[in-house]
């Protein structure tokens, strides 16, 4: 639990530092635009994939500095879980998912209109520091005495991991299929699992795991779409947040956390 806290602190520190250099000008702009009418205000509720935890926490902090009248509420969970929440009518303004397949489900149910891809990510094997089990690639995960955890099948990271394993022609004995990518990662952080297949950004954001690269031929690149929800209560806030994520400040933070450009 402690490393997670430290990491959150680090994410906030990055956000504050980023806000200190880039945010001043932005803040001034927002202040000037305030008299023009219709600037975003109120609370923006953002439902985002677990893998966006650190990056979106930092982006939200910087967004709030640029728009002092807006508060961002973040809710992180597996994209698949957020989809079912949205379809059950959970209130929210923005949805960012970890793959286009889950986003397509809410497009199909008319809960969002036109999503835009704002980042990409790749899978990586998370192992314990020092790689004590000497895992060099996907094939090594098939070892009998290894404890390997993946995300659940319906969660993007789980579906993608299955594709990568199939690409490599590897069948493994999975110990657990976790409900989201951070849960899978934490099992390695706690030393309970020898390896987990997570995103490159999750490995980068963690102080207590090491990454083992999955070769490009087997790896899967996932695209992260973002969209305003049809039932959004704060449309201008939602649009401002999405624009911020896709514009330079958002892209810079995403890149800092290891996301690939769209």
């Amino acid at each position: 639990m402690r490393p997670r806290l430290v990491r959150l602190g680090a994410a906030l520190a990055v956000a504050l530092a980023g806000g200190a250099c880039g945010g001043d000008g932005k803040g001034g702009e927002a202040g000037a635009g305030g008299s023009g009418g219709g600037p975003p205000s109120g609370t923006v509720t953002v439902l985002a994939a677990s893998s966006l935890t650190e990056a979106f926490t930092a982006i939200a902090a910087q967004f709030e500095r640029a728009h002092p009248d807006v508060q961002v509420e973040l809710s992180f969970a597996a994209s698949s879980q957020l989809v079912s929440q949205i379809q059950q009518g959970a209130p929210g303004d923005v949805f960012a998912s970890a793959d286009t397949a889950t986003m397509d489900q809410v497009v199909a149910s008319d809960d969002v209109a036109s999503p835009d891809v704002f980042a990409r990510n790749r899978l990586e094997i998370a192992v314990e520091p020092g790689n004590p089990a000497d895992i060099q690639g996907l094939a090594d995960l098939a070892g009998d005495d290894l404890i390997v955890v993946l995300c659940a099948e319906q969660v993007p990271c789980g579906a993608l991991a299955d594709v990568a394993l199939a690409n490599a022609g590897v069948e493994i004995d999975v110990a657990s299929r976790e409900e989201n990518v951070k849960a899978a990662l934490s099992k390695v952080e706690l030393g309970e699992a020898d390896a987990a297949i997570v995103y490159e950004t999750d490995v980068a954001a963690s102080d207590s795991v090491e990454g083992v690269t999955i070769p490009r031929a087997d790896n899967v690149v996932t695209r992260y779409p973002i969209a305003r929800l049809a039932e959004a209560g704060n449309r201008s806030g939602a649009d401002a947040f999405i624009a911020f994520v896709r514009a330079r400040p958002g892209r810079q933070i995403l890149a800092q956390f290891g996301f690939l450009g769209p």
Binding site: V83, V149, E153, Q154, S176, E178, E179, L190, G191, E192
Partner: protein, 277 residues
């Protein structure tokens, strides 16, 4: 005035109104919500799906094992708490009952830090015997026992305290050994309470979610019990989630009916038992 007397006896309208809202809103509405969406016609087919069947089987096995473990360890614990005096007894009792009020997910974290591969006891188990408990069915049983055992302890301890000890004393003066007194007198006397405690323990074990998913993870047929399957199926297969929920609901109602004689009905005056202060 006699009217005032009668007035105080009449059921207050406010109690009827608030009580009715409580019953309707928090008990009946969710139940009806679940039942009206239940795919009754396809229920058999859904419960026969391999993933659902696996969850049912795993839940049955693990919850019964947890109940048995709770009996073996909880019964002596209840006896020690009820019949002996030792320093720090109040603290021990509080500690035994703690899992009843502790958020189960916190229990799961505590279990990981105790029995996990890097845990207090777990690292030794791993090194000495190569035993790792997380991600195993044994881990599920452990998590379920952790949250459920207090229900057995608390029920049996209360029964032992309420027991008229003269029966045991009489048996002892007639030459019965301690084990005979326990087997032939004490256990039969607390039998109904023990049954109720077992039923409650089993129901709690069957419904366990937080500690299980935190400590044992989730894998079909190994650690994915019914509550976990309900949670995950809600995203992919809502009818299956609802069907499993109805099964758990039916089990809960059965358990209540089973212990109903003692728990649901208001306490009656003891009939044939002498009352001692």
């Amino acid at each position: 005035m006699s009217a005032t007397r009668r007035g105080t006896r009449r059921t207050p309208v406010i109690a009827i109104a608030l009580g009715g809202i409580g019953l309707g809103l928090f008990v009946l509405t969710p139940l009806i919500g679940l039942l009206q969406r239940t795919p009754w016609r396809d229920l058999g087919g859904i419960l026969g799906e391999p993933a659902v069947r696996e969850a049912l089987r795993l839940s049955a096995v693990s919850s019964l094992a947890a109940t048995l473990l709770s009996l073996v360890l909880g019964l002596p614990l209840a006896w020690l708490l009820a019949r002996t005096r030792f320093p720090g007894q109040a603290v021990v009792r509080a500690a035994v009952l703690l899992p009843m009020v502790l958020p189960p997910v916190v229990g799961g974290v505590a279990l990981l830090l105790a029995f996990g591969r890097r845990g207090l006891l777990g690292q030794w188990l791993d090194r000495a015997f190569g035993i790792t408990l997380p991600f195993t069915t044994t881990g599920v049983v452990l998590a379920e026992t952790f949250v459920a055992m207090p229900f057995l302890v608390v029920t049996v301890e209360a029964a032992l305290r309420g027991l008229d000890r003269r029966y045991e004393d009489a048996a002892a003066t007639l030459g019965a050994k301690r084990s005979t007194v326990l087997r032939r007198v004490t256990l039969p006397l607390i039998g109904p309470s023990l049954g109720a405690g077992l039923a409650l323990t089993w129901a709690r074990a069957l419904g366990e979610f937080g500690a299980t998913i935190t400590f044992a993870g989730s894998f079909e047929g190994r650690t994915q019990t019914m509550p976990l399957a309900v949670y995950l199926a809600l995203e992919t297969n809502p009818p299956a989630a609802i069907a499993l929920s109805v099964v758990l609901l039916a089990v809960s109602i059965s358990v209540l009916a089973l212990v109903g004689v003692r728990v649901v009905r208001p306490p009656r005056e003891p009939v044939a038992r002498p009352v001692v202060a």
